[in-house]
Symmetry: C2
Subunit: 396 residues, 2 copies
């Protein structure tokens, strides 16, 4: 028999309570640069050498001693001989990126020169270091380049690679055991239509793919029937994971055992949130393993996942918050909501018009397929009127 | 000897010219649902069956004949017997998701009932189909679920899986050959500091990782020296790829052969764009293989990549445009720009303040590492003043 939901916890409070119970992982691993995109730097990366490690020509042209160019101009050019060491009165041909000879302290751009026989005409005066990239100008040996907690982007890998660093230490991904539950749920391996009353397992697949997308590592577990003993066994055998997400069995019916089992093994922190759809979501902790129990109704499960599993995964994985893509739009018809509930209304964005998806409930999975955005209606607002300007969060 | 840049093409025009020369790929492949995230549906997905495929209880309670509940209320309940077929005057216990017996046409919620001995007290009147999910209510057999061109999200996989579909046909990823060029470039395999005048290969790594991130498949090629013959050989041996990106050698110096070689094998469409950094970018086509030539200066290369390679990859891969994350911010100091150039200024976002990154040029790779956003300054604007409100595009 399920727990009773006595009162609903506000979404924001529920999330705070849950996140407070979660510790970020400290375990790390070493990855090649090719494999480190979207991973989180675990120990600060410092420059192991100067970049550039030599005085670098920043332009195609001639390396010169700047003192040789004093007074040079178009009407009063100076003539320099060509040498291989840029000794006084001479210059050396260089290309962008070339090493600057020790004697030289400036580069005159090719456009400001003309070779005349053995000599080169220089038509501009240069100050010291003109068009020279100094040693360490880009990065100085010992300088902090990336702090722990930095999310690695492709452009960062080239910065790290330029230091001669081949591997980076990043936080390990949180392993998330995804456990689908329900007497009615049957494996997707069958190609026949299931018997009436049976449905194919789909929530676990969706949850696992979101876990992977958000920076975790999904462990797909077998379907567990609505039996407290079997649910307990499944949870116990996954307590080596960093987090557990159970799908289904979170409500208050006689087949809803999940929150009670979690509570018996650890502690249920929240059961029942002011979230629509998603009200029967339960959040708990067993030892140091956070447990998210999302409703079996797919849309409710999805919303519970977004609100609780995603921030939990981010905190655990040391993943910085990424701003969501918000589109400003106007709704083409009224959206109802219930006071006291944070409501996720599905909409179809068409340019700057958001069409609410009419749906008979949180069981209608295809309403998400048809939608590309959510309009979030706060707890203290009773729906939005036709024509109202709203923020649309893209469902990705 | 390199081509001469006669005049600069406006970024928007250059992009149009280039994209017009590109055909989307039509080749497809079949992938398991577990592997299809961020891939593009290639042939429309229709419902192969009804979902639900049976009349489904939407609530825990009792399946009844609605006609048996006429007039039922808290003060005037009706009493029904318990049966296994919901014949007239009887009801059947059901759970959310249960099959509804043929005789029944409504479900009364458990909260509105009380079992009394062998009978059940029903305290509410039900209309036909109350709390019943009808066959095909979610998806009807034959109904279009996803059109070709749809980018697959985790939530979509569960919709597809619920139809018993295990594999989807998606467009093949564009294979992009990434060819670093330059006499000064040496492989990253060496652990020693390169000789003065030599630099580690880093641009190809960055480009390849962006290609993968944007939905392509990078092919990392060996470094090619600044030799027209060797550049030609490298290009020829990669004309089986869907796109080629060459890094370096795009300017007008005597070592800049890339655009001329591309032009000799096919056609250079644009050489020199009003983009800062990124001016020496060249765009061409060889047969039906688009070729992006980005400058060797890392920041210039990155900007050229964002402006041209990304949209080209999207068009070729049939990938829908994803809105970029824009953050509204105020700049903490003046940003200069040159009229006629679309300028990418690197900024560090700190809340709603964007601090411009002071840098001596497009060769300074670490300026990107330090930055997390770009402020784009249009061609017809000469810089932004301190305190101005700007849009910041996140560098991801």
């Amino acid at each position: 028999m399920g727990t009773i939901i006595k009162e609903l916890t506000k979404v924001e409070d529920a999330r705070k309570i849950f996140l407070n119970a979660i510790d970020p992982l400290s375990a790390t691993e070493h990855l090649l640069l090719l494999d480190c995109i979207n991973r989180i730097v675990a120990s600060s990366i410092k420059a192991t050498r100067n970049v550039p490690h030599y005085r670098r020509a920043a332009m195609d042209g001639y390396a010169v001693q700047s003192s040789d160019t004093i007074g040079a101009s178009v009407i009063n050019p100076v003539m320099l001989g060509v040498s291989d060491d840029a000794g006084q009165g001479t210059c050396v041909r260089v290309h962008t990126g070339s090493n600057i000879p020790d004697n030289a302290d400036a580069v005159v751009m090719i456009e400001d020169t003309t070779p005349i026989g053995e000599m080169v005409e220089i038509r501009t005066q240069l100050h010291p270091n003109k068009h020279i990239g100094c040693i360490g100008e880009d990065m100085q040996a010992g300088e902090l380049i990336f702090k722990a907690g930095h999310l690695l982007r492709p452009c960062d890998t080239s910065v790290i690679a330029s230091l001669g660093i081949a591997e980076v230490e990043v936080y390990r991904k949180p392993v998330v055991a995804v456990i689908p539950t329900g007497d009615e749920v049957v494996p997707r391996t069958t190609s026949e239509i299931p018997l009436p009353g049976k449905v194919l397992e789909t929530n676990g697949l969706m949850v696992g793919l979101y876990v992977d997308k958000w920076g975790g590592k999904a462990r797909y577990c077998d379907i567990v029937p609505d039996s407290p003993e079997l649910i307990e066994t499944a949870i116990r055998s996954n307590l080596d994971a960093d987090m557990i997400i159970l799908c289904g069995g979170t409500s208050v019916g006689e087949r809803d055992h999940v929150p009670a089992v979690v509570d018996s093994l650890g502690k249920i922190l929240v059961h029942g949130v002011g979230l629509n759809p998603g009200k029967p979501t339960a959040l708990g902790i067993i030892g140091n393993v956070p447990v998210v129990c999302i409703p079996g109704y797919p849309v409710a499960g999805l919303v519970g996942l977004f609100e609780f599993a995603r921030p939990a995964l981010r905190k655990m994985g040391n993943i910085p918050d990424i701003p969501e893509t918000i589109i400003k739009a106007r709704i083409s018809s009224k959206i109802n909501s219930k006071e006291g509930y944070l409501t996720y209304a599905r909409v179809i964005l068409d340019g700057n018009i958001a069409h609410p998806v009419m749906t008979s409930g949180s069981g209608v999975l295809s309403s998400v397929a048809r939608a590309n955005g959510f309009v979030l209606i706060p707890e203290n607002v009773e729906g939005y009127e036709e024509g109202q300007d709203v923020d649309v969060v893209l469902i990705d």
